[in-house]
Amino acid sequence: MPLLQIRELTHWFGGLRAVYDFNLELEEGELVGLIGPNGAGKTTIFNLVTGAYRPTEGTVQLNGNDLVGLRPHRITAKGIARTFQTIRLWNDLTVMDNICIAHASRIQYSLVDSILRVRRYREEERQIKQQAIELLAVFDLADQVQELAKNLPYGAQRRVEIARALATEPRVLLLDEPAAGMNPGEIEELMELIQQIRKEFGLTIWIIEHQMRVIMNICERIKVIDFGKTIAEGTPMEIQNNPRVIEAYLGEEVF
């Protein structure tokens, strides 16, 4: 059984069909890319899968459990985490808090425990902090733990966002254009980072990206959509030579 199974996903914004009959099966441990021209509906698909929008039709299943209709925090708790196309950190909070808050779904102590500061509460908070520090070390952010998120350089903010997604302990990680706005050197580091966390955390990764270098280098399988419809699917090699993909990206040949 695939880890994430999306069937016949369709979404309408009023009279606009943003996604039409989208199907995908993600096997455990895969790294799959989703590409398409601007406005093709890529981010909409992520929003549908994570529960930000409720799909008009179709099903999304994680490990056989239905996700459609659940509120986003429940879906995240079940094991799907994401990053955002434009960075959405909690800017006025420290890097540490940004990571710790993402543990929210696993908090065991009650409100009364936390206000009375009982041992159970202290123990749990200590563990959360410890895990956050370990996670930040993986992302080379150990020195910026107490820094406000907004004060970090762009590349570091991207890393914090990925770290925050991992703090929710996901099985599937959705990356929405992680390389946007990065220079070639940073892109190189990002690709290494993705490979590294994939191994270290045993993740299944699904990535949207415009930088073909990233997609072609790290993905095993690519899906191409245009106007909400799937137009091609295959290995990086197959996609590069697919005439429909070239047409979608470069426009119809006039000659």
Partner: protein
């Protein structure tokens, strides 16, 4: 050793305030000012959770205060005092001393339940919705009280003075100031402890980016409702204390939108998301009201003007979103908690 400094400082203030009032070093006027100061601290710190930490906009804090004031007031008068409406006291009057905090608690719970009633529909969407709903609730509570003849209607509810006198007959200490002082400590502890937990920090994540918070596994609806109920409950506590002030009466005219605005002003003056800022501004604002009392109605010309000047010079309020210990690091060295020193050690 140094973890005892803060409790010691609090104890010292307690001894000065309560001892001074007991020995009549502070006359009745100053005791009243101290009482209002305390009630304003509770109101300001509790509203700061919603308007400061969470970044929502609640404008009806006086409505929840009214619920607490009437519930607690009616309860103590019914239980511990001879009254025209309720007849002879239900319980021996001396029981008022141990059961007074229970009455306060019940008033607070009533206020927080009213808060829950409002939170459920208004937190489905974000934005100005809560402002409109809380504004409406402030008016609804006031009108409802005005139309209940049993509890005095627009003339107000009396009888709390007899409760306080009964308590003083048994043991003559400034009971109300003592409970107000304890109320302040409880309020500060609840709010401070709440916003420093991982669960409670969810309110700040909601302020910063609610959609990201929900997608990063924060149950935003639950966090918002919890915070709102805490805030409303503490406003109810402030109301319950206020109902027993030496004037001996409460009337719906006290709990108008003007009172709510006053609390909001204190929150913004002190700094959104700063507990120590709220305390400083509640103390300062209460004193300012007293200093300007000779001006009569013109007080309400001078105070808004001062506010405008303040906002021009320091738009973030006295402390912004920092605490006193962040502004004066030496204080942290003396009073800082273990956790803070842990945070410093990991820097």
């Amino acid at each position: 050793m140094r973890k005892f400094y803060l409790p010691l400082a609090v104890l010292l203030i307690f001894v000065v305030v309560i001892g001074g009032s007991w020995l009549r070093i502070f006359n009745e006027y100053w005791q009243l000012v101290l009482l209002f100061m305390g009630i304003n601290i509770i109101l300001t710190v509790s509203l700061n959770l919603i308007n400061g930490y969470m970044g929502e906009f609640s404008v009806g804090h006086a409505g929840f205060m009214a619920v607490g004031a009437y519930v607690t007031g009616i309860l103590t008068v019914w239980l511990f005092a001879e009254d025209k409406v309720f007849g002879p006291p239900v319980l021996p009057t001396a029981w008022a001393i141990p059961l007074f905090p229970v009455a306060l608690l019940i008033g607070a719970i009533a206020a927080s339940l009213v808060g829950l009633l409002i939170a459920i529909p208004s937190f489905r969407t974000r934005g100005d919705y809560l402002a409109i709903v809380t504004l409406a609730v402030n008016y609804i509570v006031k009108s409802a009280i005005e139309n209940m003849e049993v509890i005095g209607g627009p003339r107000g509810f009396v009888g709390m003075k007899r409760v306080m006198n009964n308590m003083a007959d048994v043991l003559d200490v400034p009971w109300l100031l003592i409970w107000t002082f304890i109320g302040i400590i409880v309020t500060i502890l609840i709010i401070r402890n709440f916003v420093s937990t991982t669960f409670g920090k969810g309110v700040e994540a909601i302020r910063e980016d609610e959609i990201a918070a929900e997608l990063m596994s924060v149950n935003t609806r639950r966090v918002k409702i919890t915070a709102f109920m805490l805030s409303c409950g503490l406003a109810g506590l402030a109301g319950g204390l206020f109902a027993h002030w030496p004037g001996g009466y409460v009337n719906p005219g006290t709990f108008t939108i003007l009172k709510s605005t006053e609390v909001m002003v204190m929150v913004y003056l002190g700094g959104m998301g700063s507990i120590s800022g709220s305390i400083i501004s509640a103390i300062g604002f209460t004193l300012l009201l007293e200093v300007l009392r000779p001006l009569g109605v013109f007080k309400w010309v001078v105070i808004p003007l001062l506010l405008v000047v303040m906002m021009l010079l320091r738009p973030t309020g006295i402390l912004g979103n920092r605490e006193l210990t962040d502004v004066i690091p030496r204080l942290r060295a003396v009073f800082g908690s273990e956790e803070e020193s842990y945070a410093l050690a990991t820097d």
